[in-house]
């Protein structure tokens, strides 16, 4: 029998659902928050925090049984945890594995930090739009006023929703 790895010693494998791996250490709770998971939905959720990772040094993992993610959820996860991978599990096997991708353009999910930006004017029919300037560190630039926004601000906005 294969020897279980350290992570399996903490949390068992799930049968069907989604594993979000390679979340930057300390960001797992943010991921749950943006997915709207409170723990009262009924499906089994496991959170592993600050485990060793070859790529990241330390990482978090979230396992959610019985839930599939929507495209918008994946985009939000990418903004919170740009290094994350998403594994879809069917009958204990990984049937698909993909790395989240921060979109080049982000439309509507965030608001510009500049109060004098046209996107923050009441009643003007304009949707905020950002362009990804850098992935590490994550920096977005408002397409309208040019203001830039860092990762902390992006997390603050997404988690507050």
């Amino acid at each position: 029998m294969r020897k279980p790895n350290k992570e399996e010693l903490i949390v068992r494998k799930i049968k069907d659902g989604t594993v979000i791996d390679h979340i930057p250490a300390g960001h797992a709770l943010y991921v749950l928050k943006i997915l709207g998971i409170t723990g009262r939905e009924g499906f089994r959720v496991a959170i592993v925090m600050n485990v060793d990772s070859k790529k990241l040094g330390k990482k978090d993992i979230v396992k959610i049984e019985g839930m599939e993610l929507k495209k918008e959820d994946v985009d939000k996860i990418a903004l919170i945890a740009p290094t994350a991978t998403i594994n879809i599990i069917k009958d204990y096997l990984v049937v698909s594995k993909s790395k989240v991708q921060v979109p080049n353009r982000i439309r509507g999910l965030l608001t510009c930090i500049n109060p004098r930006c046209i996107t923050n004017q009441p009643r003007e029919p304009v949707i905020p739009e950002f362009r990804t300037m850098s992935l590490n560190p994550l920096i977005l630039r408002c397409e309208y006023c040019g203001c830039t926004m860092g990762h902390d601000e992006i997390i603050r906005q997404l988690v507050k929703e």
């Binding site: 309208y144 006023c145 040019g146």
Partner: protein, 308 residues
């Protein structure tokens, strides 16, 4: 290259495209005091949500000299905006009347938003603290008229680099060239915004932020002066302390290069001593004069293309 295009920031254009404007402006200089019929039948709408003298009048003059007509407003109190009409609706209306819209607004990104709504081309005549691309074209054109090449020059930008849109657009404009060095001269409180510094780094521009003009003035080929507004300082005593360091006087020009040119987007208050006007370095009135031919060139290229 220019036909039917919006002009939102100077960074939307390449050196080659700017060169086309400058060459056309060279032609237009001949007609700065006469009238052409290139744009006969075309209407330009001026949507000035913020006060302006030079920019508005030079756009107006440029259109009239090209044979076109001008409509618009220069203050919002007499328009439906005062009743709460949105920018979007105002632009839609002007778009249905005019062939080109020139907009100035205090809100950042207003010109880009207007360009998305309007089918006609939109020219940004200044939005908030961010962009003033046609001013930057005039500034670069003035340098080009005085030096053979913008490449290789040492350029200093003095004043309010944080909130000043002319200074910011000028900095973006020179970043398109292979200049030798860019000095950003301001009190720390008014230094360039991070996004501007990030842009300069990305472009590989050699730049340095300094607090005193005296420390670098001897090296400069071009000194671009802008106004420092007293209101920017939370403490008036702070302003009084620094204002002397950001004034250009005949004394401060004692050790400068022979060919130094001094530019200013105007209006000036006391950052440029009036005695500097009489020196050969003063090029700011020449720069203001170029407002008409450069804007003529833009209007011609956007509305008639390079066919005429």
């Amino acid at each position: 290259m220019w036909y039917n295009r919006d002009v939102i920031t100077i960074l939307d254009f390449s050196r080659e495209e700017l060169e086309e404007v400058f060459e056309t402006a060279d032609d237009m200089l001949k007609y700065s005091h006469s009238r052409l019929d290139i744009l006969k039948g075309k209407v330009m709408a001026l949507a000035f949500f913020e006060p302006s003298t030079r920019t508005r009048l030079s756009f107006e003059t440029a259109m009239i000299r090209l044979g076109g007509d001008v409509i618009g407003f220069s203050e919002v109190s007499t328009t439906s905006i005062a009743k709460g009409e949105t920018l979007a609706d105002t632009i839609r209306m002007l778009d249905s009347y005019a062939d080109i819209i020139v907009i100035r607004h205090s809100i950042e990104g207003a010109a880009k938003f207007a360009a998305e709504i309007a089918e006609s081309p939109v020219i940004n005549a200044g939005d908030g603290t961010r962009h003033h691309p046609t001013q930057a074209m005039i500034d670069l054109y003035t340098i080009r008229r005085n030096f053979e090449d913008i490449d290789g020059l040492t350029i200093g930008v003095l004043g309010d680099l944080k909130y000043g849109r002319a200074a910011t657009s000028f900095i973006y404009g020179v970043s398109l060239y292979n200049i030798k060095k860019l000095y950003l001269i301001s009190p720390p409180l008014l230094s360039t915004r991070k996004e501007v510094r990030d842009h300069l780094k990305l472009r590989g521009i050699a730049f340095e932020e300094v607090e005193r003009l005296d420390d670098v003035i001897e090296e400069l080929d071009v000194l671009y002066v802008t106004r420092i507004q007293r209101e920017r300082f939370p403490d008036p005593a702070e302003y009084e302390k620094v204002r002397g360091s950001y004034r250009v006087t005949p004394e401060s020009l004692k050790k400068v290069k022979r060919d130094l040119i001094i530019l200013h987007p105007l209006p000036r208050v006391d950052e440029l001593h009036h005695e500097v006007d009489r020196t050969k370095h003063a090029k700011y009135f020449e720069q203001a004069r170029y407002g008409v031919p450069v804007r003529m060139a833009l209007l011609k290229l956007i509305l008639a293309g390079d066919r005429v």
